[in-house]
């Protein structure tokens, strides 16, 4: 059975850089030259999305099991969705419908 769900992914060309003693990460797009500093908890979303495209629900579940204080401020799927929308507004993530098994 195939489902078509809107999944979030990193915009093409973005690389994430961070330092072990710092919470935030740098997101640099090697194609467009766009550069952002992404503070927690949003930078945790990006790290998950870097692994694989996820729906908001899937990402929400992943955040549940991952640690980090900043994640505690995300209490609902809707709250997560609005934060993802902010990242989309900056051109860092994009929502696309992909067919998955």
């Amino acid at each position: 059975m195939k489902d078509v769900a809107a999944r979030w992914k990193l915009v093409d060309g973005f690389l994430l850089d961070g330092w072990s003693d710092e919470a935030e990460v740098v997101a640099y797009n090697r194609l467009s030259g766009d550069l952002h500093v992404v503070p927690p908890p949003q930078c945790l979303f990006l790290k998950h999305l870097q692994q694989a495209p996820l729906t908001t629900e899937e990402l929400f579940k992943k955040l549940d099991v991952s640690d980090g204080e900043a994640v505690h401020s995300i209490v609902s799927v809707r709250g997560l969705d609005s934060r993802l929308e902010q990242l989309a507004g900056l051109g860092i993530v994009v929502q696309s419908r992909c067919v998955c098994d």
Partner: protein
């Protein structure tokens, strides 16, 4: 660089400000610039000066009194808008004991005053305005050793504290006061071919009455701010990003607030003489 001008103060000023420079052979010149007074009405009524590169004027004319500052800004423009051998950041760079400090700062932060005081106090001047970061991944920064542009009370502050400092003519700036250029120390000019390695990125800020304080600063935000203050980050693409990543990796990053110049000089010396500088508690407020 070849300069032609029909304004005496520009030619004399350029000769004085660059008196320690070697004269380049005239066969090939990177930029042919001219500072000239326009003909016609404007020659006499509120006289003006034009900056031209090869006959084309990238800026609007300025009042004649600012001919010499315009010459200096024009030189900066030639470098920042053409040179792609370096990642160019709007920042002062000084060096002591082989350790270079890069100080990016928005105008009005007291960066030039601090830079002038440091170079009068034994630091080598690499640049007052433009940090030229090497692209080869070495984390090196290349000197320009050009004059330091000082404004208003900074001129008298530096010239009274360091009587040996040599200055070009004082130019009246109609809106914000006076501008004068402090010559680069002869030793800095002599060593202009000698690159240095960036050891620290410091964001200085003069705040009236503030305590002298240094805070560690986030590397991520430092990288972002360096990119914002860069003239050619976008043109150089990923190479530029990797340069900044390297510089931020190898450097200590600080925010620095001061009002007392003597304390500031002492703290900077401590930084490079392996004495632990006193760090402020908590985070500073990023001016983003």
């Amino acid at each position: 660089m070849q300069v032609s001008s029909n304004i005496g103060v520009v030619l004399d000023g350029a000769r004085l400000l660059y008196s320690d420079r070697e004269i380049a052979p005239p066969d090939f010149v990177d930029f042919h610039i001219a500072l000239t007074r326009p003909f016609g009405l404007r020659r006499w009524w509120r006289p003006q000066v034009n900056f031209r590169l090869d006959g084309h004027a990238p800026f609007k004319p300025l009042p004649l009194a600012q001919a010499l500052p315009m010459f200096e800004w024009g030189l900066n423009w030639c470098i920042t808008s053409h040179c792609l051998d370096y990642l160019i950041i709007h920042a002062a760079v000084v060096e002591k004991n082989g350790q270079a400090l890069v100080m990016p700062a928005p105008p009005g932060s007291g960066k030039s005053t601090l830079c002038a005081a440091l170079v009068c106090n034994g630091w080598r001047l690499l640049s007052d305005e433009l940090a030229l970061l090497k692209l080869d991944g070495s984390g090196g920064v290349v000197p320009l050793a050009r004059p330091v542009c000082l404004k208003n009370e900074s001129v008298s502050l530096i010239s009274s504290r360091f009587p040996d400092a040599r200055f070009g003519p004082l130019c009246n700036d109609t809106i914000k006061g006076d501008v004068a250029h402090m010559l680069a120390p002869a030793d800095s000019v002599y060593r202009v071919g000698e690159a240095a390695t960036v050891q620290a990125v410091i964001f200085p800020r003069y705040i009236k009455g503030a305590e002298t304080q240094l805070w560690l600063r986030s590397r991520a935000y430092t990288l972002l701010e360096l990119a914002k203050q860069s003239f050619n980050f976008h043109v150089l693409g990923e190479q530029a990003y990797q340069v900044l990543r390297g510089v931020v990796d190898q450097s200590q990053c600080y925010d620095f607030h001061y009002s007392d110049l003597e304390q500031a000089l002492q703290l900077f010396d401590d930084l490079v003489e392996e004495r632990e500088p006193a760090l402020g508690e908590g985070d500073s407020h990023y001016a983003l």
